[in-house]
Amino acid sequence: MRNVALFVPCYVDQLRPQTGLAALELLEERGFDVAFPREQTCCGQPFLTAGAAPAAARLAERFVRTFVRYDAVVAPSGSCVATLRKHLARLVRSEEARALGERTFELCEFLAAQPRSVSAPARSFPHRVALHASCHALRELRLGTPSETREPPRLDPARELLGNLAGIELVPLARADECCGFGGVFAVEEEAVSCRMALDRLTDQRAARAEVVTSTDSSCLIQLEGVAKRRGIPIKAFHVAEILAGRARA
């Protein structure tokens, strides 16, 4: 089996360890020998979006040093992977960095691309689930077809994997891929608009009678869950990995 490394984004490591564990389980149950290099911290995205490119470049270099020896890097985050795939080569000007960016995968993207012979246990999740599109998984990694474009339809690997679960009902949303308003520093710099964006997503999800909201990005979920709890909106937030690994208790 190929030499696969798990990258657990810094904030997932500290705030959502269960998501990291779920991702690890999903990879291991498919027979991967997964490494978790302990020198990993942050991909640099928060620095880049905050306008500190030199700091982002330092962390990008560190990312390359940490992960360059692996055949593939998998992370339970569309957003961090988008940063790595789109910006690693720009931040660390080397062929090595460019190639590493290209073999860094969002978890669902990686799982859905495995041959059918790589099987995993069949699970169920008998709930009404809203799949919140992570902007960066969708519009940077092109995992799915953005509603703005008229490009040929692409399968969203998260939707595909969730669809395999017994009993799950993926509810249709009025606005299929509108941003939740997290956006890194945006969440605090533009606090009012950010919260309103989350509220509008939650309203859409509840109108579709979703019990659970899921996403490939924990940042979107922390944002949505934060506003839902404050407003008393009854919806539970789980990362796609948690649902797929049977770790979500709705």
Binding site: P17, Q18, G51, A53, E178
Partner: protein, 458 residues
Amino acid sequence: MTHAERAAAFVADAERTSWHDQALWFVRAKRDRAADAVPDWEALRSEAAAIKRDALARLPELWERFEMEARKRGAVVHWARDAAEHNAIVHELLREHGVTRVVKSKSMLTEECGLNEHLEAHGIEIVDTDLGERIVQLRREPPSHIVMPAIHLKKAEIGALFAREMGSAPDLDDPTELTRVARRDLRARFLAAGAGITGVNFALAESGGFVVCTNEGNADLGAALPPLHIASVGLEKILPRAADLPVFLRLLARSATGQAITVYTSHYHGPQATDREQHIVIVDNGRSRLLAHPSFWEALACIRCGACLNTCPVYRRSGGHSYGVTVAGPIGSVLAPARNPEKHAGLPHACSLCGSCTDVCPVRIPLHHQLLTWRSELTARGLRSARWRAAASLARFVMERPALFAASGGAARLIGRALPATWLARLAAPWTRGRELPELPRASFRALYAKQRRERGE
């Protein structure tokens, strides 16, 4: 005031925010359906992007050709380095012709140059004839949207404005009736005007002509009735060939409002009669400087359709006036810092980087990547507070040291779990103003992973 402060004031009116969001989302949805009707929308976007980039790469050649051809057709061509020169040229033309009353169709360039204020200061009456522009002119406020200048106003507010300004019935809120009121008022002003000013959507190098797209026919009337027609055009508006036009006409109205084409697509080639004059003012006003910038030059491909505003989740929930510039929304946030970095350093942060603008743009401007690039560029120019820079340096210092990262993360969670909720919320503001903090787990992933490996005997 910053964008964030003005946006917070806008969002405070939850009902109005919903209304504004839905009005613009309606336009976005209409645009989606219009795009569906074009068999190869994405190829059309690519073609438009390529034509614009080619044109931008050879502006001097194209404008020289334009000037030569336009002169042959009897137009007079003027060159304005900046807003002041543009305004002075227009004012001088009006003075020469003894004009004191002017009608003007929609032109974001003249807004950008502050032409109205300049002419009014010299005692010239200038009337905006686009209905939306007329409304914001009467309210003495800037347009909130480049295509729909009065999109921030409700029908009843316009009714009240017209009652005050034009003496219509105070409770009038029927759009057709309101339009009739404005039309009656405007018709007299058209007839009295000594000159008509228009913008330009596309200038054609090949023929020296230009095209103006409107839905109201106001540009046509303004250009045809008075003896003097002045067209102001930005340096980026040139297309090489007339054959390029269909590509843009198919994209412009569909992207802007979801119409297949604007109601009027008017072509001008020289004065309309021998006793008429046509003057074309070509304006730089910072455009050539932007063209020289490796990251932002592509923004000059913009055809001002407004699709990026309509789709922007921040614009829809903060309103055009929150940006404090003539062109609001994503494209405005790219253009404004180029013009005045000190004043507009905050605008690239009025964006969640969702990328919807880039995907909706008919000429494929990588808007959200440009906004991201601006952030670091403005920081590098020292336009971020020292406190903020210190925080970023500290965070980087921690992130470069995995052991320190793990230890400080653990300490923060431990303290966070021990503190009373209200204290913690105060510490975590502004996150907690409208949101709860996530539950703080006892152990990090890396700690749980290490434990798991120990248990497995690794």
